[in-house]
């Protein structure tokens, strides 16, 4: 796992300190890691919506997320999401085929 220094909001820091105060030291790293994961997923979902709407391209999407195109392609595949945004969205099809929600 990569270790980096990340500036965090005061309220997140307080939440981490509260955990430490009640003896949950070991859980702090996991708590922060989960927050980062959630933030990444939220950002990916936001950008995918813009990509689906045709407002941004795949490469622009990757740049905004800080990934290379190939890594984004893999990330979308892992989530069962189409890597092309031309054609009808799954929710618009008659057969009710659904994509895996992020």
């Amino acid at each position: 796992m990569v270790k980096v220094v990340v500036p965090v909001k005061e309220e997140i820091l307080r939440a981490a300190e509260r955990r430490k105060a009640v003896g949950m030291d070991e859980g702090i790293a996991q708590f922060l890691a989960e927050l980062i994961d959630l933030g990444f997923e939220y950002r990916l979902q936001q950008l995918y919506q813009r990509f689906e709407d045709g407002k941004i391209s795949l490469e622009y999407f990757a740049n905004e997320l800080g990934l290379g195109v190939r890594d984004l392609y893999a990330a979308l595949e892992r989530r069962g999401l189409a890597t092309s945004n031309i054609g009808a969205r799954p929710s618009e099809t008659d057969n009710g085929q659904q994509i895996t929600p992020i």
């Binding site: 795949l58 622009y60 195109v69 190939r70 890597t83 092309s84 945004n85 054609g87 969205r89």
Partner: protein, 181 residues
């Protein structure tokens, strides 16, 4: 007769990743008389940054062998036209290449914004399935192989795209010949 196309990153990744009838899609395309040209920025994204993926290695090998040609963007004729679109460098460069490489038939992209930008510049734009159908209609790819390729790449497309191409293939069946596969 050679069919020259410029591929952006999405179709290149797909072509180097998906395999049908024991052969990668990119090799079906190359063996069918398709000349694939890409921009250096697309090479960077797919074969350099993507070197950790098997398809990135495949792309790198085809480039090293000269089967896929990397051509620099000599001038940015449409820089101002494309500036406000939320496109990446690879997509912009691929569009520019279409205007400067001799004999390019089309930009092959599966990206809506790149597709629209290219069409608005009066360029021919195809999706990867369109390229497969064009090769089948020319007789350089059999209908059977073309249909198999379309089914193989289906997961990456939204509804309607592959169905449309399969209908086009049936329409072009009269032209079926002894192409690759």
């Amino acid at each position: 007769m050679v069919l020259t196309v410029v591929l952006d990153a999405g179709p290149l990744i797909a072509a180097c990743k998906f395999e049908t009838q024991g052969r990668l899609v990119v090799d079906h395309l190359l063996l069918s008389g398709c000349r694939i040209v890409i921009a250096p920025s697309v090479e960077e994204e797919v074969a350099v940054l993507g070197a950790g993926y098997p398809d990135g290695v495949v792309a790198g090998e085809r480039i090293a062998q000269g089967d896929i040609q990397v051509m620099p963007v000599a001038n940015r004729r449409w820089a101002r036209h494309l500036a406000a679109y939320a496109l990446g460098d690879g997509e912009k460069d691929s569009i520019e290449l279409c205007g400067q490489v001799e004999g390019v038939q089309a930009l092959v992209t599966d990206d809506y914004l790149a597709f629209v930008a290219a069409i608005r510049l009066d360029l021919e734009a195809w999706m990867l399935p369109d390229l497969v159908v064009k090769l089948a209609k020319r007789g350089s790819l059999t209908i059977r192989v073309a249909a198999a390729i379309l089914e193989t790449v289906r997961p990456r497309y939204r509804a309607g795209v592959i169905e449309y191409s399969l209908v086009q293939l049936v329409e072009g069946k009269h032209g079926e010949s002894s192409g690759t596969g």
